[in-house]
């Protein structure tokens, strides 16, 4: 469970008109939640806040009952974040970064090798991020997310830049984590691969989070609604305002 309690955030607090989130209250239970919306609406920022990458200006964020900023380790222990931009430091090899993840999550070092093999990067462990293509960097991030089987997955455009086989493998992994009862928060413009499994949809408009929970059971109606939300529409008849 991830909870936003009165969360406000702006990249430039001196410019109130550029506020991304304003006093958001939100509770996301286990299951797959799709975050959709047009470019720049705040999808990635929402995930970065939930992942503890950005600190909120006001309010609190809890992961599994632990405050993200006062109980840093406990809240992040079961959390994996795959950002849209694979920001791996160029001063370490892929293996070193995954070893760090193993150490921080309390996993044995061979978990890193297994995760790399699962995404098809086992031959590139000794390479720096400088020597990897964009798709390979994303695979490295996905390998890091697999370590320790975290119960809360925050995935920002997880299929972007991946080849066909890697997309299939990533979708299978997400489905397996979903089936295991994990919380999966996916921000995506291409909603089709996730539509069937999604329990709810979330979008950000003018600093507010708008939740559709549950999504329509009829596949055609669900797809139509998700496409409208992804296009920036906010059908008033389907929204339950979380606050």
């Amino acid at each position: 469970m991830i909870r936003f309690l009165g969360v406000s955030f702006s990249y430039r607090p001196d410019r109130p008109r550029e506020t991304v989130l304003a006093g958001v209250d939100l509770a996301l239970p286990a299951g797959l939640t799709l975050v959709v919306g047009p470019n720049g609406c705040g999808k990635s920022t929402l995930l970065r806040l939930a992942a503890g990458v950005e600190p909120p200006d006001d309010g609190r964020i809890e992961v599994d009952g632990h405050d993200l900023w006062t109980a840093e380790v406990a809240a992040r222990a079961g959390l994996a974040f795959v950002p849209e931009q694979p920001d791996l430091t160029p001063y370490a090899t892929v293996a070193e970064i995954l070893d760090l993840v193993c150490a921080l999550r309390g996993e044995p070092p061979d978990s890193a090798a297994r995760a790399l093999a699962a995404v098809g990067l086992d031959g590139l462990a000794k390479r720096s991020v400088r020597e990897l293509s964009l798709g390979q960097r994303r695979k490295a991030m996905l390998a890091a997310a697999r370590i320790g089987n975290p119960g809360n997955l925050l995935l920002d455009e997880p299929l972007e830049s991946l080849d066909r086989a890697a997309r299939a493998g990533t979708l299978a992994w997400i489905e397996s984590r979903h089936a295991a009862g994990a919380l999966v928060l996916v921000a995506a413009h291409d909603v089709e691969p996730f539509a069937a499994a999604a329990a709810r949809a979330l979008t950000v408009r003018d600093g507010r989070c708008l939740l559709v929970d549950p999504l329509p059971g009829d596949p055609a109606a669900r797809d139509r609604l998700l496409e409208r939300l992804a296009g920036g529409e906010t059908p008033p008849d389907v929204f339950r305002l979380p606050r």
Partner: protein, 300 residues
């Protein structure tokens, strides 16, 4: 006097090349000046300057008596490295790779205050207390210069790594990792100071943890939202101002070094809070070098 004056003027220009050029001028001035004159003891005929005497006496004979405690001396060369390295953690390795060979220049510059203190003590007849004060000031200045240089380089070449903040790696630990690396980098300077004036080591060692933690915090200085065009973040000024003040105070009142030592936990908390508050998404290309920034779209 003219070379010394020129050295002072050059050093006051504020640029590193001018500061470096002032060093040989200072040595020339010392050679020309010779030892200090005393009305009760006329200048010895064999004395032609402290630097020349050092050069003539180097290396010292093995049976030579240890130097008087109030005189700074050129320390013996460090023992050759055994070639073995202690296991280091990834944060330290990342920082070392980000720094590259820049610490060599940083150490060269950082040695200047220590050298100045050495010359000052060699060219003046100082009571032990004053010699210790000069060593504390020189050694402290060296540590502060080194910390400012390394922290500035780290801030530019190894800015915040956004994704790693989502891992169970607390801000306090990340700050302490940096502080440990920065503090350890100052140990050779501390050893040099100790070889010359052992009494200078305790006050310096007492202020070093505070300085290292403050430098780790200065790396995390956020970009000012009010003036984003202010330029690249430079933590050096923050460290230099605070460090110079502390080193001066420790030189005058050695017991005062206990205050920053006792306040280290407060500094750690402040630096960790700064690390948590950092808006990593607000870091822009113009604030730092793109090289080494995992979030950069032109670096890496």
């Amino acid at each position: 006097m003219p070379p010394a004056l020129a050295a002072g003027l050059l050093a006051g220009l504020g640029s590193w090349p001018a500061l470096a050029a002032s060093v040989p001028l200072l040595a020339v001035a010392d050679l020309a000046a010779g030892p200090p004159r005393s009305p009760r003891s006329p200048r010895p005929a064999h004395s032609r300057g402290a630097v020349r005497r050092w050069l003539a006496a180097w290396p010292p004979p093995a049976a030579e008596r240890p130097p008087a405690p109030h005189r700074l001396q050129v320390p013996p060369a460090a023992a050759a490295s055994s070639g073995r390295h202690a296991p280091v953690l990834l944060p330290a390795r990342i920082a070392r790779r980000a720094l590259g060979w820049r610490p060599v220049r940083a150490y060269a510059v950082a040695l200047l205050p220590w050298l100045a203190a050495l010359l000052f003590a060699a060219n003046n007849r100082l009571v032990p207390l004053h010699a210790t004060r000069a060593a504390v000031l020189g050694g402290g200045g060296s540590c502060v210069l080194l910390l400012a240089s390394l922290a500035g380089t780290l801030a530019a070449r190894r800015p915040a790594w956004p994704w790693v903040r989502s891992l169970p790696w607390p801000a306090r630990r990340r700050v302490l990792d940096d502080a440990l690396l920065l503090g350890a980098s100052c140990l050779p300077l501390l050893a040099l100071t100790g070889l010359a004036a052992p009494a200078a080591v305790p006050p310096l060692a007492a202020i070093l943890p505070w300085l290292a933690v403050r430098a780790a915090g200065a790396i995390r200085r956020p970009a000012s939202p009010a003036s984003p065009a202010a330029g690249r973040i430079r933590p050096s000024g923050e460290i230099l101002m605070e460090g110079a003040l502390l080193a001066g105070l420790a030189a005058l009142l050695p017991w005062s070094a206990l205050l920053p030592l006792a306040a280290v936990p407060v500094a750690v908390r402040a630096a960790a809070a700064r690390e948590r508050r950092l808006k990593v998404g607000a870091w822009m290309e113009r604030h730092h070098l793109a090289a080494g920034d995992p979030g950069s779209w032109s670096g890496g």
